[in-house]
Symmetry: C2
Subunit: 289 residues, 2 copies
């Protein structure tokens, strides 16, 4: 087995991981995300102790992933202070590497080892501080005008929902209506204090069902895996979301038959909370596949 | 040059085309679309006179395009009387062929010969009786849970718009809000009688801008070409749509810089009204590429 290394770079912490697959993790090291100089040096020090053959980097974004761009391998247009133009690609130190968004990384990991094995097209949605969508079409992350940012799609409000949304760019896009901070702002309390029968959950489910509806008709996922802190902590979201999705799609074009039971079609990720660091490891595996 | 043939199968008429490329069309024959038996026999009679090496079929849908499905090559779930389960694939008579939706065909033609040459990801939107979206990612039509039906995405209403929408499945999806019949229903008159400064055009532009916003963040087109009867006849739609799209996307993640000038990014198809039959011819070219 080839020894791989991964770096999951998040807004508040990063995780360095070494191993060959989910059942063979040799090391995991967590570091705080501070300034690029400090954080990238700390990551380099960890990687320097490992004997990996390839590196995967799964990072917050937006990222420039166009090999023909002068900014290739950099974080671009991030509102995170200091990180604009941070260069990630040289963490590989000349070894084979792959760089992608954290959500595309998690999606790839689910395809290799988790809940999307054997599929050609699927989506990984994470609901946390923001809403990220990793989109795989024909086995590869969708590329073109940058990378997937489908969490910022425009969707209708649910019936009677007048919450203005909190996305600084779009107000009431999916992220603005149903991310962790949006749900907390709706309820006027911290997410962990909101009871499972609070009316904020059906409102969030409305927005997430519209997101799934739109994905089903555009990137055409054969499964939609929904992870992240909010989804993991609020299992009541899944049945609410599935019921609203079935109503919304109205079996147009027979997609519900194609999708199969929604209880399997819209599901938590099989890799659970490890999908993030395993995403980085999966990118490393793809770099030498 | 290889002689190709194409069949554009539409809801009211079909066009058989023979040639090698847009500047070398050898024949075009138009037939009415009646019953499958009658129409497919008439198409077979036309094709039987031609000496083509490959056939492309660009058809209304939904289509089953999954080669592993028992319904592969058939029209499925269409509301058009008589056409459910109509088998199209055997029009090829054993020659190499490709079958796809009319909008994916037109998108492929724009990539080969028109306004999307040199791109890897693009979209072709047609606004007519319905709203169809052909989506190309990494040079190929997106596949997965069926084929693109992005015209049925859920989007927000424009400010103050209370039109309920006319989509029999979704009410106020993009097609329900901005297709030709939706615009006519809004205005209470036939589309060709609506003046260019009628308030219905900004309302349609709102819906189309939301469609473009969502495509830009999901299938990530490097260009969006908008054709079909409504778009071709109402050039004032383009500046309205571009202005609303710029406002809606709010340059999230720098996508407006990536997209370049919106006057080129959102544009009419280069092949104009011939994009339909040329789509079928382009599919034939791809079948032997």
């Amino acid at each position: 087995m080839t020894l791989l290394a991964g770096v999951e770079l998040g807004g508040t912490k990063c995780v360095c991981i070494s191993g060959t697959e989910p059942d063979d993790i040799r090391a995991m090291v967590e570091l705080p995300t501070t300034t690029p100089d400090e954080t990238l040096a700390a990551i380099r020090a960890v990687l320097g102790q490992w004997d990996h053959e390839a590196l995967g980097i799964a990072s917050f974004g937006p990222l420039d992933l166009d090999p023909s761009s002068p900014r290739y391998g950099r974080i671009v247009h991030t509102p995170k202070p200091g990180w604009n133009q941070a260069f990630l690609a040289d963490l590989a130190g000349g070894k084979p590497f792959a760089l992608d968004t954290d959500t595309n990384g998690a999606a790839i990991a689910e395809g290799l080892w988790g809940g999307a094995q054997g599929l050609s097209s699927w989506a990984y949605v994470t609901i946390g501080t923001g809403i990220g969508v990793g989109s795989i079409v024909a086995g590869k992350p969708v590329r073109g005008l940058g990378h997937s940012e489908a969490g910022h799609m425009r969707i209708p409000r649910g019936r009677g929902d007048s919450f203005p949304g909190i996305c600084p760019y779009h107000g009431d896009c999916v992220e603005g209506l149903a991310s962790g901070p949006a749900i907390a702002a709706r309820a006027g309390m911290s997410g962990r204090d909101i009871p499972a029968d609070h009316p904020v959950w059906p409102q969030a489910a409305d927005a997430l069902a519209a997101l799934c509806h739109n994905l089903m008709l555009t990137t055409l996922p054969q499964r939609i895996l929904i992870g992240g802190g909010v989804a993991a902590g609020q299992p009541q979201l899944f049945p609410l979301l599935r019921a609203r999705l079935a109503e919304s799609i109205a079996d147009y074009g027979g997609v519900l038959r194609l999708a199969g039971p929604l209880s399997a079609y819209v599901a938590p990720p099989a890799l659970g909370k490890k999908a993030g660091p395993l995403g980085a490891l999966a990118l490393a595996a793809r770099a030498i596949a």
